[in-house]
């Protein structure tokens, strides 16, 4: 019985896994087909297979340029979010005044405001101060993403005893040293989580950059839209482009996997 249920569980897991992987299969398989091949059958393996899509897409996307733009925006945004929200959460959590409680509630309630309701006035405001560019976009991300990140950091800080700060203070550390040498390293599991959430959100974002960025600073998702004209959709190039754009995120995940799993299991056993 025990063995059968294990098998059953395995099969169900496998099926769910396949459902998840199916879109990736579609992207990969079709990115090696000619337009004709795609319309002949979406599911079939490419025959004949071509790698030309990748080359064409690479050029059409101005891949190196848009990759650089995506990287700059994502890296700058995520670093800024980690820096600001970890320090903000630390200040709010360690300072037990009513004001801190109020500010924290404000951050949390800000998570409930739908982005679409503020995007037009926001872009108008940034336009007035000539900030409709990468810098403006990074600042907007900082504002939008901080709430969740502060919330996450705050939860972890709750479990770090005050004695840590006090021990460092007695040993002569300033508030900055205490935070960066003692507290921040202890936050690394949640920092990885915060980084992943934000990297995915910013890397994949289409709407906000489309409102803010000039064409010269287009990110990969924006460039991708070039393949979808009013009358033609170049699926073969779009899918090859998608495969290219997913690659950095997957590389990051492989690199960070160790920390993600550590973050999940840390503290489970005392």
């Amino acid at each position: 019985m025990h063995k059968t249920s294990k098998w059953l569980l395995g099969i169900v897991g496998l099926l769910i896994g396949l459902v998840w992987l199916f879109p990736f299969y579609l992207i990969l398989v079709n990115s090696f087909k000619t337009p004709k091949g795609i319309f002949a059958s979406v599911l079939r393996f490419p025959d004949p297979a071509t790698t030309a899509n990748y080359g064409d897409s690479f050029r059409a996307l101005n891949f190196l340029g848009s990759l650089t733009n995506s990287l700059i925006i994502t890296v700058a945004g995520v670093l800024l979010i980690i820096f600001a929200s970890s320090m903000g959460a630390y200040a709010l959590q360690r300072n037990h005044s009513k004001l801190s409680g109020g500010i924290l509630m404000l951050f949390i309630s800000a998570m409930l405001i739908p982005f679409q309701s503020v995007m037009i006035p926001l872009t108008a405001m940034f336009g007035k101060v000539h900030m409709l560019n990468m810098v403006g976009l990074v600042i907007m991300y900082l504002g939008f993403q901080c709430s969740l990140s502060i919330f996450l950091y705050q939860g972890t800080l709750n479990s770090i005893p005050m004695a840590m700060d006090e021990a460092a203070e007695i040993e002569g550390a300033t508030k900055w040293q205490t935070f960066f040498k003692v507290i921040f390293p202890m936050l690394s599991p949640i920092t990885v989580t915060v980084a992943i959430l934000n990297i995915i959100a910013i890397w994949n974002d289409y709407l906000l950059p489309s409102l803010v960025l000039p064409q010269s600073q287009y990110t990969i998702p924006l460039q991708m839209f070039n393949f979808f004209g009013e009358y033609t959709k170049q699926w073969h190039l779009a899918l090859a482009g998608l495969a290219l754009s997913i690659l950095p995120v997957i590389l990051f995940y492989l690199f960070a996997q160790r920390y993600i799993i550590k973050g999940v299991t840390d503290g489970a056993v005392k």
């Binding site: 005893p161 004695a163 840590m164 006090e166 021990a167 460092a168 203070e169 007695i170 040993e171 002569g172 550390a173 040293q177 040498k181 003692v182 390293p185 202890m186 690394s188």
Partner: protein, 367 residues
């Protein structure tokens, strides 16, 4: 090495209308090992934290070598502190944990290394310097916390219930180690605990506190033998002192529970001189001063009480008789050979020369 003065120290937390600590006075001499003990919430940790500079002093002066230190930052007080939960930095090795304070102060690298290694030798941590705290046992972590304090070469060590997270056996070992450490370093140490055995075995002097007030300051011997009031008498000693309410009639201490024992002449004279003849008072006697063996019953024939055994515990050399006379419960610590079963009615002798007397209104010791 440093002299510490705490003068009329008061502490009130914001939002609290009562003082958590009031009129606390202490003069600690050079190299003294002082213990703060008392029940939970008595203010002992608060005072330690005020000395450390982690809490503000509401009123009063804290002086080190005559200099007022109320406003000095913790780092400028020359103190090292060992926390109850050790507060080791989990991402640093044992070496880095111990070197942290010196590195922050930009101490010479070679000197830091020498000091950490010296402290590690004292504490037997040499083989663990490259490990992280998570890979250490509780006792080893405790040692690292001590090491961190030693490395700093501070003038004053503050220890906040440092052994309370250890198991009983390890606690006894660490107690000896801390006592040795104090002898070796000769540094002033202030140690907060609620474990009176720790205090009695290690302290030069003990400060015993209750509800934010000092009840008595003295050597372990003084606190045990000359308690200032009923609280101290009841707190120091394990099991606690027994109290019998009653009054003096003639040369006897009697009460409604059938206690009628002769008070020694010397005690009687002092009590009468202080006006306690015929006045209600409380007599206190320690469990070890109550005897069950025949020779004691013969010797103290004029101080015998009838007792009913409720519970008895055999502890090896001794046995504890949880007894009752009338409505009063008390404990007798007798020789294991005088073990009695629960339910037995026996006679017990009080060694009245060891008795204490307390005023019923003020709880102060009369004698």
């Amino acid at each position: 090495m440093v002299e510490i003065n705490l003068e009329h120290i008061y502490k009130k937390y914001s939002g609290n209308d009562k003082y958590s600590v009031s009129d606390f006075n202490l003069h600690a001499k050079d190299g003294e090992f002082i213990f703060f003990i008392g029940p939970s919430g008595c203010g002992k940790s608060t005072i330690l934290r005020m000395i450390a500079g982690l809490e503000e002093i509401t009123k009063g002066e804290f002086k080190m070598d005559g200099k007022v230190m109320n406003e000095a930052a913790p780092k400028d007080r020359g103190i090292a502190m060992v926390f109850q939960n050790y507060a080791l930095y989990p991402h640093m090795t044992v070496f880095d944990n111990m070197a942290f304070g010196l590195n922050i102060r930009k101490n010479d690298k070679a000197d830091t290394k020498r000091r950490v290694e010296e402290a590690a030798t004292i504490l037997g941590l040499n083989d663990f310097l490259q490990r992280k705290p998570a890979a250490l046992s509780g006792g080893q972590r405790q040692r690292v916390a001590l090491g961190r304090a030693i490395v700093r070469e501070a003038n004053l060590f503050l220890l906040d219930e440092p052994l309370s997270n250890l198991d009983a056996k390890l606690r006894v070992n660490m107690r000896t180690e801390i006592a040795k450490l104090h002898q070796r370093l000769g540094t002033n140490m202030i140690y907060v605990t609620h474990d009176q055995i720790e205090a009695m075995t290690m302290a030069d002097r003990i400060v015993i506190m209750d509800v934010g007030k000092v009840q008595q300051i003295g050597t372990p011997f003084e606190l045990y033998n000359k308690p200032k009031n009923k609280f101290v008498a009841g707190f120091i000693g394990s099991p606690a002192m027994n109290f019998f309410p009653g009054k003096l009639v003639g040369n006897q201490f009697i009460n409604d529970d059938g206690v009628a024992v002769v008070v020694p002449e010397g005690q009687l004279k002092v009590l009468a001189d202080k006006g306690y003849a015929d006045k209600p008072l409380t007599m206190g006697i320690r469990p070890e001063d109550i005897h069950a063996e025949q020779v004691a019953l013969d010797t103290f024939a004029d101080a015998i009480i009838d007792a009913n055994i409720q519970v008895s515990e055999l502890l090896g050399a001794d046995s504890m008789l949880y007894s009752r006379t009338g409505k009063v419960d008390f404990i007798a610590q007798v020789d294991a050979r005088d073990y009695h079963k629960p339910g037995d009615n026996i006679k017990l002798a009080l060694e009245m020369s060891k008795a204490h007397y307390f005023d019923n209104e003020t709880d102060l010791t009369i004698l």
